[in-house]
Protein backbone atom coordinates (compact mmCIF):
# COMPACT_ATOMS: atom_id res chain seq x y z
CA UNK A 1 0.00 0.00 0.00
CA UNK A 2 2.58 2.48 1.16
CA UNK A 3 4.85 1.51 -1.69
CA UNK A 4 2.21 2.32 -4.27
CA UNK A 5 0.88 5.49 -2.67
CA UNK A 6 4.28 7.13 -2.40
CA UNK A 7 5.19 7.29 -6.08
CA UNK A 8 1.60 8.22 -6.97
CA UNK A 9 1.76 11.36 -4.90
CA UNK A 10 5.12 12.20 -6.39
CA UNK A 11 3.70 11.87 -9.86
CA UNK A 12 0.74 13.98 -8.88
CA UNK A 13 2.94 16.67 -7.37
CA UNK A 14 5.18 16.65 -10.43
CA UNK A 15 2.21 16.96 -12.75
CA UNK A 16 0.74 19.75 -10.69
CA UNK A 17 3.99 21.68 -10.61
CA UNK A 18 4.32 21.42 -14.38
CA UNK A 19 0.82 22.76 -14.82
CA UNK A 20 1.53 25.56 -12.35
CA UNK A 21 4.80 26.55 -13.95
CA UNK A 22 3.22 26.52 -17.40
CA UNK A 23 0.45 28.71 -16.10
CA UNK A 24 2.92 31.14 -14.54
CA UNK A 25 5.27 31.28 -17.48
CA UNK A 26 2.50 32.25 -19.84
CA UNK A 27 1.16 34.66 -17.33
CA UNK A 28 4.60 36.13 -16.82
CA UNK A 29 4.66 37.98 -20.12
CA UNK A 30 1.29 39.52 -19.50
CA UNK A 31 1.91 40.30 -15.89
CA UNK A 32 5.26 41.87 -16.65
CA UNK A 33 3.55 44.25 -19.06
CA UNK A 34 0.80 44.85 -16.54
CA UNK A 35 3.35 45.60 -13.84
CA UNK A 36 5.08 48.11 -16.07
CA UNK A 37 1.79 49.86 -16.89
CA UNK A 38 0.81 49.69 -13.24
CA UNK A 39 3.93 51.34 -11.85
CA UNK A 40 3.93 54.09 -14.49
CA UNK A 41 0.22 54.51 -13.82
CA UNK A 42 0.83 54.88 -10.08
CA UNK A 43 3.11 57.87 -10.72
CA UNK A 44 0.56 59.46 -13.06
CA UNK A 45 -2.16 58.89 -10.50
CA UNK A 46 -0.10 60.72 -7.88
CA UNK A 47 0.35 63.83 -9.98
CA UNK A 48 -3.01 63.97 -11.76
CA UNK A 49 -5.66 62.23 -9.69
CA UNK A 50 -4.60 61.83 -6.07
CA UNK A 51 -5.52 65.30 -4.87
CA UNK A 52 -9.15 64.66 -5.75
CA UNK A 53 -9.63 60.90 -5.51
CA UNK A 54 -7.23 60.43 -2.53
CA UNK A 55 -4.27 58.08 -2.18
CA UNK A 56 -6.55 55.17 -1.33
CA UNK A 57 -9.05 55.97 -4.08
CA UNK A 58 -11.74 56.83 -1.55
CA UNK A 59 -12.62 60.18 -3.13
CA UNK A 60 -14.14 62.87 -0.94
CA UNK A 61 -17.54 62.09 0.55
CA UNK A 62 -20.36 63.39 -1.66
CA UNK A 63 -18.05 65.73 -3.62
CA UNK A 64 -15.75 63.30 -5.40
CA UNK A 65 -16.63 59.64 -6.07
CA UNK A 66 -14.44 56.74 -4.99
CA UNK A 67 -12.64 54.63 -7.58
CA UNK A 68 -13.44 51.25 -6.07
CA UNK A 69 -16.76 50.59 -7.80
CA UNK A 70 -15.57 47.71 -9.97
CA UNK A 71 -18.99 47.22 -11.53
CA UNK A 72 -19.10 50.84 -12.71
CA UNK A 73 -15.55 50.67 -14.02
CA UNK A 74 -16.28 47.43 -15.88
CA UNK A 75 -19.56 48.65 -17.36
CA UNK A 76 -18.00 51.94 -18.45
CA UNK A 77 -14.68 50.51 -19.58
CA UNK A 78 -14.90 51.95 -23.08
CA UNK A 79 -15.67 55.49 -21.93
CA UNK A 80 -13.12 55.85 -19.12
CA UNK A 81 -10.42 57.14 -21.48
CA UNK A 82 -12.79 59.85 -22.75
CA UNK A 83 -13.77 60.83 -19.19
CA UNK A 84 -10.13 61.22 -18.18
CA UNK A 85 -9.04 62.99 -21.38
CA UNK A 86 -12.01 65.37 -21.77
CA UNK A 87 -13.48 65.51 -18.27
CA UNK A 88 -16.72 64.13 -16.89
CA UNK A 89 -19.82 66.10 -16.10
CA UNK A 90 -22.91 63.97 -15.98
CA UNK A 91 -25.02 62.29 -13.32
CA UNK A 92 -23.46 58.99 -12.27
CA UNK A 93 -24.01 56.47 -9.51
CA UNK A 94 -20.97 55.17 -7.63
CA UNK A 95 -21.36 52.57 -4.88
CA UNK A 96 -25.08 53.39 -4.90
CA UNK A 97 -24.52 57.10 -4.29
CA UNK A 98 -25.51 59.72 -6.86
CA UNK A 99 -22.95 62.27 -8.09
CA UNK A 100 -23.47 65.13 -10.46
CA UNK A 101 -20.16 66.90 -10.23
CA UNK A 102 -17.53 68.11 -12.60
CA UNK A 103 -14.21 66.39 -13.26
CA UNK A 104 -11.85 68.60 -15.29
CA UNK A 105 -10.02 67.29 -18.36
CA UNK A 106 -6.55 65.84 -17.86
CA UNK A 107 -4.03 66.60 -20.54
CA UNK A 108 -2.59 63.09 -20.84
CA UNK A 109 -1.28 61.09 -23.81
CA UNK A 110 -3.06 57.81 -24.75
CA UNK A 111 -0.20 55.78 -23.25
CA UNK A 112 -0.46 57.66 -19.96
CA UNK A 113 -4.24 57.21 -19.91
CA UNK A 114 -3.82 53.46 -20.48
CA UNK A 115 -1.31 53.32 -17.64
CA UNK A 116 -3.40 55.27 -15.17
CA UNK A 117 -6.52 53.23 -15.99
CA UNK A 118 -4.48 50.05 -15.53
CA UNK A 119 -3.32 51.34 -12.18
CA UNK A 120 -6.86 52.24 -11.10
CA UNK A 121 -8.28 48.97 -12.43
CA UNK A 122 -5.89 47.00 -10.23
CA UNK A 123 -5.90 49.11 -7.08
CA UNK A 124 -8.39 49.99 -4.35
CA UNK A 125 -9.76 46.43 -4.44
CA UNK A 126 -10.37 46.41 -8.21
CA UNK A 127 -9.09 43.44 -10.23
CA UNK A 128 -9.96 44.31 -13.77
CA UNK A 129 -6.78 43.55 -15.67
CA UNK A 130 -4.98 45.89 -18.01
CA UNK A 131 -6.02 48.39 -20.65
CA UNK A 132 -3.58 48.86 -23.51
CA UNK A 133 -2.62 52.01 -25.36
CA UNK A 134 -4.26 50.61 -28.52
CA UNK A 135 -7.55 50.19 -26.70
CA UNK A 136 -7.33 53.73 -25.35
CA UNK A 137 -6.62 55.14 -28.81
CA UNK A 138 -9.62 53.30 -30.19
CA UNK A 139 -11.83 54.46 -27.30
CA UNK A 140 -10.74 58.07 -27.73
CA UNK A 141 -11.98 58.03 -31.34
CA UNK A 142 -15.56 57.56 -30.19
CA UNK A 143 -15.78 60.13 -27.39
CA UNK A 144 -19.11 61.89 -27.16
Amino acid sequence: MMAIRYPKSIVAALGLSIVISLFFSCENNNSLELKRYYSEGAAIYQTHCLNCHAADGSGLLALIPALNDSTFLKNNKASLACAIRYGLKRPIKINGKAYDENMPAANLAPMEIAQVITYMNNSFGNQLGMVTMDEVEADLKSCK
Binding site: N51, C52, A54, L60, L61, A62, L63, I64, N102, P104
Partner: protein, 216 residues
Amino acid sequence: MRKLVFGILILAAGWSSCKTNDGKTSLPIFGSRKAVTKTVNGQSVTDTVYQTIPKFSLVNQYGDSISNKNLDGKIYVADFFFTTCPSICPMMARNLLTVYNTFKSKDDFKILSHSIDPKHDSVPVLKKYADKLGVSGNTWWFVQGKKEDVYTIAEKNYLVAVKQDSTAAGGYVHQGYFVLVDKQKRVRGAYDGTDPKQVDQLITDIKTLQAEPDQK
Protein backbone atom coordinates in the same frame (compact mmCIF):
# COMPACT_ATOMS: atom_id res chain seq x y z
CA MET B 1 17.57 52.73 50.75
CA ARG B 2 15.37 55.54 51.81
CA LYS B 3 17.91 58.00 50.42
CA LEU B 4 17.87 56.17 47.11
CA VAL B 5 14.09 56.36 46.80
CA PHE B 6 14.22 60.03 47.70
CA GLY B 7 16.91 60.63 45.07
CA ILE B 8 14.87 58.92 42.41
CA LEU B 9 11.85 60.97 43.35
CA ILE B 10 13.81 64.18 43.00
CA LEU B 11 15.22 63.05 39.71
CA ALA B 12 11.77 62.15 38.45
CA ALA B 13 10.37 65.47 39.55
CA GLY B 14 13.21 67.31 37.88
CA TRP B 15 12.77 65.31 34.69
CA SER B 16 9.05 65.85 34.44
CA SER B 17 9.32 69.56 35.08
CA CYS B 18 11.99 69.81 32.41
CA LYS B 19 9.70 68.04 30.06
CA THR B 20 6.92 70.50 30.58
CA ASN B 21 9.33 73.40 30.39
CA ASP B 22 11.14 72.80 27.15
CA GLY B 23 8.33 70.77 25.61
CA LYS B 24 5.41 72.07 23.63
CA THR B 25 4.02 74.36 26.27
CA SER B 26 3.40 77.48 24.28
CA LEU B 27 3.21 78.51 20.67
CA PRO B 28 4.88 81.53 19.10
CA ILE B 29 2.90 84.70 18.47
CA PHE B 30 3.19 86.03 14.93
CA GLY B 31 2.80 89.49 13.47
CA SER B 32 4.05 92.89 14.45
CA ARG B 33 4.22 93.91 18.09
CA LYS B 34 4.89 97.08 19.98
CA ALA B 35 5.74 97.96 23.51
CA VAL B 36 3.19 100.20 25.14
CA THR B 37 4.08 101.99 28.33
CA LYS B 38 1.31 103.19 30.54
CA THR B 39 1.10 104.48 34.05
CA VAL B 40 -0.63 102.29 36.56
CA ASN B 41 -0.88 103.53 40.16
CA GLY B 42 1.87 106.03 39.59
CA GLN B 43 4.26 103.42 38.20
CA SER B 44 5.06 103.05 34.54
CA VAL B 45 4.35 99.54 33.19
CA THR B 46 5.42 98.29 29.78
CA ASP B 47 3.14 95.91 27.94
CA THR B 48 3.61 94.15 24.62
CA VAL B 49 0.72 94.70 22.25
CA TYR B 50 0.45 92.09 19.52
CA GLN B 51 -1.04 92.34 16.07
CA THR B 52 -4.57 90.96 16.00
CA ILE B 53 -7.12 90.08 13.33
CA PRO B 54 -9.05 93.31 12.70
CA LYS B 55 -12.78 93.81 12.20
CA PHE B 56 -14.43 91.92 9.37
CA SER B 57 -17.90 91.30 8.09
CA LEU B 58 -18.81 88.17 6.16
CA VAL B 59 -21.76 85.87 5.46
CA ASN B 60 -21.75 82.12 6.18
CA GLN B 61 -23.34 79.13 4.45
CA TYR B 62 -26.61 79.68 6.33
CA GLY B 63 -26.83 83.32 5.19
CA ASP B 64 -25.95 84.58 8.70
CA SER B 65 -23.69 87.60 9.11
CA ILE B 66 -20.40 86.64 10.68
CA SER B 67 -18.17 89.32 12.11
CA ASN B 68 -15.01 89.35 14.20
CA LYS B 69 -17.34 89.45 17.24
CA ASN B 70 -18.59 85.94 16.47
CA LEU B 71 -15.02 84.73 16.94
CA ASP B 72 -14.50 86.46 20.27
CA GLY B 73 -13.23 83.95 22.81
CA LYS B 74 -12.79 81.24 20.16
CA ILE B 75 -9.73 79.40 18.99
CA TYR B 76 -10.12 79.09 15.24
CA VAL B 77 -8.52 77.91 12.04
CA ALA B 78 -8.83 80.15 8.98
CA ASP B 79 -8.23 79.13 5.39
CA PHE B 80 -8.87 80.40 1.86
CA PHE B 81 -10.42 78.31 -0.88
CA PHE B 82 -13.08 78.21 -3.57
CA THR B 83 -15.61 75.48 -4.21
CA THR B 84 -14.64 74.87 -7.84
CA CYS B 85 -10.89 74.77 -7.22
CA PRO B 86 -9.60 71.63 -8.90
CA SER B 87 -6.07 71.56 -7.56
CA ILE B 88 -5.38 71.74 -3.85
CA CYS B 89 -8.81 72.40 -2.37
CA PRO B 90 -10.00 68.77 -2.22
CA MET B 91 -6.87 67.92 -0.20
CA MET B 92 -7.43 70.92 2.05
CA ALA B 93 -11.04 69.91 2.61
CA ARG B 94 -10.01 66.32 3.34
CA ASN B 95 -7.42 67.52 5.87
CA LEU B 96 -9.67 70.13 7.47
CA LEU B 97 -12.29 67.42 7.96
CA THR B 98 -9.80 65.65 10.21
CA VAL B 99 -9.37 68.83 12.25
CA TYR B 100 -13.15 69.35 12.29
CA ASN B 101 -13.84 65.81 13.46
CA THR B 102 -11.24 66.15 16.21
CA PHE B 103 -12.62 69.35 17.72
CA LYS B 104 -16.24 69.71 16.62
CA SER B 105 -17.58 68.95 20.10
CA LYS B 106 -15.76 71.95 21.62
CA ASP B 107 -17.85 75.11 21.58
CA ASP B 108 -14.83 77.40 21.83
CA PHE B 109 -13.44 76.05 18.55
CA LYS B 110 -14.30 77.16 14.99
CA ILE B 111 -13.16 76.82 11.43
CA LEU B 112 -13.53 79.78 9.08
CA SER B 113 -13.13 78.87 5.41
CA HIS B 114 -13.11 82.01 3.27
CA SER B 115 -14.13 81.78 -0.37
CA ILE B 116 -11.86 83.79 -2.65
CA ASP B 117 -14.43 83.46 -5.45
CA PRO B 118 -17.52 85.12 -3.92
CA LYS B 119 -19.07 85.66 -7.35
CA HIS B 120 -19.52 81.95 -7.87
CA ASP B 121 -19.59 80.85 -4.23
CA SER B 122 -22.94 82.30 -3.22
CA VAL B 123 -24.61 81.33 0.06
CA PRO B 124 -26.53 78.40 -1.51
CA VAL B 125 -23.36 77.17 -3.25
CA LEU B 126 -21.48 77.26 0.06
CA LYS B 127 -24.33 75.45 1.80
CA LYS B 128 -24.34 72.70 -0.81
CA TYR B 129 -20.58 72.35 -0.49
CA ALA B 130 -20.82 72.07 3.31
CA ASP B 131 -23.62 69.50 2.98
CA LYS B 132 -21.57 67.38 0.61
CA LEU B 133 -18.72 67.38 3.12
CA GLY B 134 -21.14 66.28 5.81
CA VAL B 135 -20.62 69.53 7.71
CA SER B 136 -23.58 70.79 9.72
CA GLY B 137 -23.99 72.96 12.81
CA ASN B 138 -21.90 75.99 13.65
CA THR B 139 -18.36 74.72 14.15
CA TRP B 140 -17.26 75.13 10.53
CA TRP B 141 -18.35 78.23 8.68
CA PHE B 142 -17.88 78.65 4.96
CA VAL B 143 -17.90 82.39 4.45
CA GLN B 144 -17.86 84.90 1.68
CA GLY B 145 -17.68 88.69 1.49
CA LYS B 146 -16.22 91.38 -0.66
CA LYS B 147 -13.33 89.88 -2.61
CA GLU B 148 -10.96 92.80 -1.92
CA ASP B 149 -11.70 92.63 1.79
CA VAL B 150 -10.98 88.92 1.96
CA TYR B 151 -7.72 89.30 0.03
CA THR B 152 -6.63 92.20 2.20
CA ILE B 153 -7.30 90.50 5.51
CA ALA B 154 -5.71 87.30 4.18
CA GLU B 155 -2.49 88.95 3.12
CA LYS B 156 -2.14 91.64 5.75
CA ASN B 157 -3.33 89.68 8.76
CA TYR B 158 -3.87 85.95 8.56
CA LEU B 159 -0.82 85.11 6.52
CA VAL B 160 1.72 87.15 8.51
CA ALA B 161 3.14 83.93 9.91
CA VAL B 162 3.73 82.61 6.42
CA LYS B 163 5.41 85.81 5.28
CA GLN B 164 7.66 85.86 8.29
CA ASP B 165 8.78 82.30 7.69
CA SER B 166 9.15 82.26 3.96
CA THR B 167 11.21 83.98 1.34
CA ALA B 168 8.84 82.98 -1.44
CA ALA B 169 7.16 85.86 -3.22
CA GLY B 170 3.45 86.61 -2.94
CA GLY B 171 0.38 84.58 -3.76
CA TYR B 172 0.06 83.04 -0.30
CA VAL B 173 -3.70 83.17 -0.53
CA HIS B 174 -3.56 80.46 -3.18
CA GLN B 175 -1.19 78.20 -1.34
CA GLY B 176 -3.59 76.41 0.94
CA TYR B 177 -2.41 77.49 4.36
CA PHE B 178 -4.35 76.80 7.53
CA VAL B 179 -3.87 79.65 9.98
CA LEU B 180 -4.31 79.10 13.71
CA VAL B 181 -5.77 82.05 15.63
CA ASP B 182 -6.08 82.24 19.41
CA LYS B 183 -8.85 83.67 21.61
CA GLN B 184 -7.19 87.11 21.55
CA LYS B 185 -7.18 86.95 17.72
CA ARG B 186 -3.43 86.63 17.51
CA VAL B 187 -1.93 84.39 14.81
CA ARG B 188 -0.21 81.41 16.45
CA GLY B 189 0.71 79.21 13.51
CA ALA B 190 0.40 78.49 9.78
CA TYR B 191 0.37 75.03 8.26
CA ASP B 192 0.44 73.65 4.73
CA GLY B 193 -3.14 72.44 4.38
CA THR B 194 -2.21 69.92 1.70
CA ASP B 195 0.31 68.09 3.88
CA PRO B 196 -1.22 65.57 6.31
CA LYS B 197 1.89 65.75 8.53
CA GLN B 198 1.58 69.49 8.99
CA VAL B 199 -2.12 69.05 9.66
CA ASP B 200 -1.26 66.55 12.42
CA GLN B 201 1.01 69.24 13.84
CA LEU B 202 -1.88 71.71 13.68
CA ILE B 203 -4.04 69.33 15.70
CA THR B 204 -1.25 68.96 18.28
CA ASP B 205 -0.80 72.73 18.40
CA ILE B 206 -4.52 73.36 18.91
CA LYS B 207 -4.37 71.06 21.94
CA THR B 208 -1.28 72.90 23.19
CA LEU B 209 -3.03 76.22 22.68
CA GLN B 210 -6.14 75.05 24.51
CA ALA B 211 -3.93 74.28 27.50
CA GLU B 212 -2.45 77.80 27.70
CA PRO B 213 -3.71 79.68 30.76
CA ASP B 214 -5.15 82.63 28.82
CA GLN B 215 -6.98 80.33 26.38
CA LYS B 216 -9.14 78.64 29.00
